[in-house]
Symmetry: C2
Subunit: 344 residues, 2 copies
Amino acid sequence: MPKSTPPEAESRRLQMADIARLAGVSTSTVSRALAGSKLISEETRTRVMELARSLKYNINIGAQNLRMKQNRTVGVVVPYDPATRQHLSDPFFLSMLGSLADALTEQGFDMLVSRVDASELDAAAAPFDTGRVIGIVLIGQWRHHDQLNQLAARHVPIVVWGAQLPQQLYCTVGGDNLAGGELAGAHLIAQGRQRIAFFGDINLPEIGQRHEGLCNALRKAGMAVDPQWLIPASFVPDGGRLAVEQLLASGVPFDAIFAGSDLMAMEAINALRQRGMDVPGRVAVVGYDDIPLSSYFHPPLTTVRQPMPEAGRALVASLLALADGQAAPSVRLPTQLIIRASTV
Amino acid sequence: MPKSTPPEAESRRLQMADIARLAGVSTSTVSRALAGSKLISEETRTRVMELARSLKYNINIGAQNLRMKQNRTVGVVVPYDPATRQHLSDPFFLSMLGSLADALTEQGFDMLVSRVDASELDAAAAPFDTGRVIGIVLIGQWRHHDQLNQLAARHVPIVVWGAQLPQQLYCTVGGDNLAGGELAGAHLIAQGRQRIAFFGDINLPEIGQRHEGLCNALRKAGMAVDPQWLIPASFVPDGGRLAVEQLLASGVPFDAIFAGSDLMAMEAINALRQRGMDVPGRVAVVGYDDIPLSSYFHPPLTTVRQPMPEAGRALVASLLALADGQAAPSVRLPTQLIIRASTV
DNA sequence: CTGAAAGCGCTAACAC
DNA sequence: GTGTTAGCGCTTTCAG
């Protein structure tokens, strides 16, 4: 294990006392000058600031935080499921990370990123418990509703990207999965599709709601909702292909697939193509998320877009409110159907 | 601007003094017990630890760091080019972030992520200058060799993902771009391709070396190296399509494209297909990076893979060495040609 | 084995 | 206006 301390105090890090000595004033004066306090005379202030700048002195934020009992860092936790091994690799999570980085930077906050095993979500609170961050943004609710509730009950400021659930103590920000699912379903129906398979694990709240949305669309069109078209594909790599195989093996006829994620949709399309089944001619396919590569795919993928920049901003806004002791109602962001060639 | 301090001391955060009082010992004893010091009697130690655990007490790392003058956080900086607007969105950068997260977690370090405008790279050192991190991993060298040298000269522990350059004061870890380019070139030549276009901005060190590798392959095969096949495509979205258009407009005949990144390759393929030019029949295309979606693309993309997990580990290992005052030689990681349908 | 006291680098009353 | 002093939450000599 490597050490984590600097080598030698060969060239000790400059500190406020040094500046004070060099400027011939007290550290208080330096502190005030650097903070731009109006208590300090114009002259001393600029002199001190010049000196500090020319010496490339920087305030030690750790010490400052300790003294001021403040903190401008937010923890971003990406759970990974040790079973499915999905972690920081799904493009969607990564986009989210990007949006969060943008939103936090905008607000002058830093981002401390960590990964935790989804089965031990309490660990997600560690950066908060140890005082490193003022709160946590958790990307992905998975099926750990209860653990999240416990965290919230412990008063850990936490905002979760995911679906709104009954009896939820924590704050969520998420896309409107129900509406998204319905949009996708309605679109497929409008294209004349009659037998729409759904790929995804409906035990995951977000996926469950997307499926529910599809069912709503079917009902509104007076069409039957039959569980034979529900394939419990998971996010494992290859999940989409496996689901296609399972569907084909079942012998259930289908002319469309609504996949729980773009990645799964792409895998499904590849699997279909391998079997000579044309997309969208024979089977129309809709994905979810509109990851950057969906438009590059062949055929370009029809999908439901979640508004990522807004998502980042909303997550951050809610978390800052929470950390400030305010209430933060859950947010449901509008989704948008992006129609491309995989369905038309 | 939201406040960044907790609401009220309604339920003040537990601290060591509280545990000490409740356990009827001094804070020194608590500190030692929690640190597992052998100086403390077995009995007191377990008693204190139990108490701390049951009360969910956690040591305040900020204070601990201040006192111990240590730090277990590494800064990861992702520069973004305000011109091309490429930032935390290229799948490759994001993969790198994932690998780094893994490698750092492995070593018990936290990751502080920030984005900085590539034209003001000094800002990259801010987390270090302010004492928040023990060093910086910079993802992407761009064309800012000089600024990086300055940082290194200032003794900022910094490791850069990128190419090795002459007169380089900083430590780099990167793929072997020269070998990678040569692999790609040799493969295309072996496939009988005679007129190989290169897409990319060779002013970027990594891209330049990939191009150089291609040229080496051509020379070894006794083929001409003609600048007419060098298209200075940049990383802007659509750069690949634009490059195809430029190439076609130039009237220069070509039967293969080696693109500087997978994204660019995919854009190029789409543009070619739109014009009815079959890939790989009419034009073979090779990308670079082997981002996760390359295998899903249609046709699956032949590309040069950089070993991401190793990359993360190597970056972290070098940075920790540097931060510890040791020398950290630059590292060049082996690359691997992944042959898929876009070239055969 | 345990406690008292000093101090990490900084800020904020409270003096002058 | 500026300096003195106390202390943020923790660790670590140094005594006992």
